[in-house]
Amino acid sequence: MAAATSFNFDTANLQNLTEMKDIQEAYDLLCKEESKIAEEIDDLLDHQTNLESKMSSLYRSVPNLQVVSSDAKQLGSMVSFTSDLAENVSGKVRQLDLAKGRVQDAIQRVNDVLDLKFCTDGVQTALQSEDYEKAAGHIHRYLSLDEKVLKQITPDSKEGGSVDVALHVLQDAKLNLTKIVREKFDIALQTADRASVERFFKIFPLLGLHDEGLEKFSKYLKSQIADRCQEQLAQAATLDPADRRAAVVYADTLTILFEDVGKVVEIHQPLVETYYGPGRLLQLIQWLQAECDKQASKIVDDFIKHREFNVKSRQVQAFLHRGGGRSSTTHERLDPRDLDVMLAECTLLNSRTEMYLRFIRNRVMNDLESVDEDDKTRGNKTADLEKLLRECLLSRRIQELIGNYIVMEEYFMRESVTKAESMDSLEQGSHTSSMVDDIFFILKKCTKRAISSGSVDCACALLNHTTTILEGDYQEKLYSKLRAGFPSGSFDVAQAYSMLQQGRFPTSSSDTNAAKLEFMTTLNNIEVSLEYIQSLKRSLTEECAALLSQNKDVGKDKLESCLNDLGAVTHKFKDVLDVSTFYVNLIADNKFNGMQMVQYGLSQLSTSAIKPRLKPWVENFLSVNHNITEDEFSMYEANDPFVQNFIMNLEQLLAEFKDFMTASNYDALVSLVTNEVTTQLEQTVLRSVFNRLGGLHFDKELRSLVTYLTSVTQWTIRDKFARLTQMATILNLERVAEILDYWGQNSGPLTWRLTPTEVRQVLSLRVDFRSEDIKRLKL
């Protein structure tokens, strides 16, 4: 039994047990085992009755099973009998069906023969009465007959039999009719007889000449398109230059051509579908596009000729190949304004073309999808369509045009930017100079125009150029002005403005006031530019909305990537500058992320205009005794010898700049000044001595200063004063050991910004503290 084997009591050792305790243990174990086994036996006995009743019920079922077996056999034989029977019956039905089919075929043949007779008679009379539609109808019926079968089933199928004669007659009639229809169609074509053209166009498919009919018809449509386009071009050539549409006349002419082709498709597609069946549009379009290409090419030629497109393009290329030639004189340069109008028409030519090609694609795709074809055939046709759209002469000519457009638009943009820079001026009361608004206006205008061309690649190209200009020339221009630094000395505003000539900064002047004004203006220009870059990106993204929704996948990815690069220029402004080499520690907080150029500018400002002026004011602190009596303390309270003056000086300093800075630059300046004040003041405090009352007074001085600075900026100041405030706390202690109430475990919410060494240093400023006590402190 399982229980016995699991019982690991060693019976052999039982004899060797001598200790009473061991024996008792062994006995207990055995007892436990016994009761367990007893339980198991009871359990098994309980099951016995159950098992017995099951056995007896099984015995009772045995006879039943024998009956079931014989029943099953009987059922089997019945099923196979039925199946044989059914097989028999259905065989007969099949034979009947076959017979019926043959009878139908026979009837069909008889009908065919009758039809043949009918057609033979009918076609001749129809031809005689020039009822070509009817004649063609008969021939169509004849063509649908199976000639071979007809010859087999009729007994006189040998040469000269009646069926054979009939077939000959019809054959002749077909040739005859084809000849007539061709002739008549050509005449109709020459006389531009629209009704006849459409009449015979419908007869071709009845004669099984679908391709020929469609091709002839497309010739007619092509000549119509060509005629109208020539008319339009002639009109364009003689259009009064003062006309409202004169500036875009070639775009208009191209548009009319596209509309004509579109109309032709619109009107004739249902006709083609009815008489020639669906799925033939691609073929028709291929023929029509050849004409569209030819006419569009003529329009482009005229555009190039009359707008002097190539001449201008070559001028721009030559200029660019001289290496951007800043040195080239103005008279050999092309005035950007001469390009403006032509560039706009250029984008219009492209956007109209894109629209037309989209229309054609949709139409043909719909037609292809309406036919039930296997995927491969349809795939091939779709590829044919895409190839046609991509490589047709129209596409190539327009791509060429846009290629040259991009070069000229870039030139236009760069030249206009250069001009805006050279005409830069500052109006009194304005924080930024004119060039910022002007340049961003130009960038937006040009890129917007490129986007309006409807070409993703063209839009991307100009987005790229915009990014390049901002990252390159523009940034360098601003940066170089900052690099010159902020001249030291005081700042006379009236004097500065008087130096400006019609708002322009003097190019070479020893006047430091004007230089200072320019420096601060540059700082503002940069700050505003950062904002403008983001809003430029936003508005150009909006301009791209249509393009983004029309172009899935790659087109969308490309646009988004180029737009993102533009947005990232803000970061690049900082990349160029290795800020770490400048006074990073002077720079306020980290709020200026991505604005290091501004920070660099401010640090320049700080070095020359702020640090040196603060220094003597802070030094004044030393001339005020902080080891004082009660009387002196109350005297100080009534009439403060340091901080009032200091605040007044700060006020004056900040006021000098406030009017010339944008709000956020001013805040940055206050922050910078605060940093400088705290740094210098800290050093100065460490050079003073204090007693308790002096410490108390210092605390008051500090509070006044914090209150003042807090009142002039949006930013929080208190944190910058953390170290000084903690120094004041220390200088205010009653006893040396009192510091322990604030230190370590007792510091509570206070985070110490001073190191233990610094704490000792500050404690030692107190004349009344003994240095042994300070040394003994455990910090």
Binding site: G323, R390, G403, I406, D457, N464, T468, G472, V554, D565
Partner: protein
């Protein structure tokens, strides 16, 4: 945030028909496209690779070689981190056009760009018109690295792009060293793995 540490732009240029599109497709999709047409404007594909434990995203701009798209192509030079200039070793004409391309690059690209000269269609070596030595010395004279590839047989294609990715990554890391902990330079491809986007 997207899942990569560095993003680099690689721009392919060179005459029409030298196999730029095939190289890009081979690298990004692992296939040799049968009978695809000439590129119109620029095409754009992305592949993320792992370089020394960091995900590096390569943005590959496949430009059209045909003259009428030149101004579109040029607009991408400035922001490119690497340029791949491709010719066809069975076409003297494509090789002779290289100086023109180099001149364009010098005019538009930023100075710190990495450029690689690639002689493609290595599998057609029986029809070779340009020797390895010629290719090599052309690359040397323009300060470019040099490689012969076959987009068809996948010869050197991964190596071309991965070398670029490794070099660019090392360059960025060297800049970062100034501000952060020094990372070890990657010298071989042992730690380089391709992975799809």
């Amino acid at each position: 945030m997207e899942d990569y540490k560095y993003l680099f732009k690689v721009v392919l240029i060179g005459n029409a028909g030298v196999g730029k599109t095939c190289l890009v497709r081979r690298f990004t999709q692992g296939l040799f496209p049968p009978g695809q047409g000439a590129t119109i404007g620029v095409d754009f594909m992305i592949k993320t690779v792992e370089i020394g434990g960091d995900k590096v995203k390569l943005q590959v701009w496949d430009t059209a070689g045909q003259e009428r798209f030149r101004s579109i192509t040029q607009s991408y030079y400035h922001s490119a981190d690497a340029l791949v200039l491709v010719y066809d070793i069975t076409s003297r004409e494509s090789f002779n056009s290289l100086p023109g391309w180099v001149k364009e690059v010098e005019q538009y690209a930023s100075r710190k760009i990495i450029s690689v000269l690639v002689g493609n269609k290595l599998d057609l070596h029986t029809e070779r018109e340009i020797t390895v030595e010629e290719g090599n010395s052309c690359a040397e004279s323009h300060n470019m690295r040099f490689l012969e590839t076959s987009a068809k047989d996948a010869d050197n294609v991964d190596r071309l792009f991965l070398d670029i990715a490794v070099e660019l990554t090392n360059n960025v890391r060297n800049v970062e060293i100034k501000n952060g902990p020094i990372e070890e330079e990657i010298r071989d491809h042992g730690s380089v793995q391709g992975c799809c986007r």
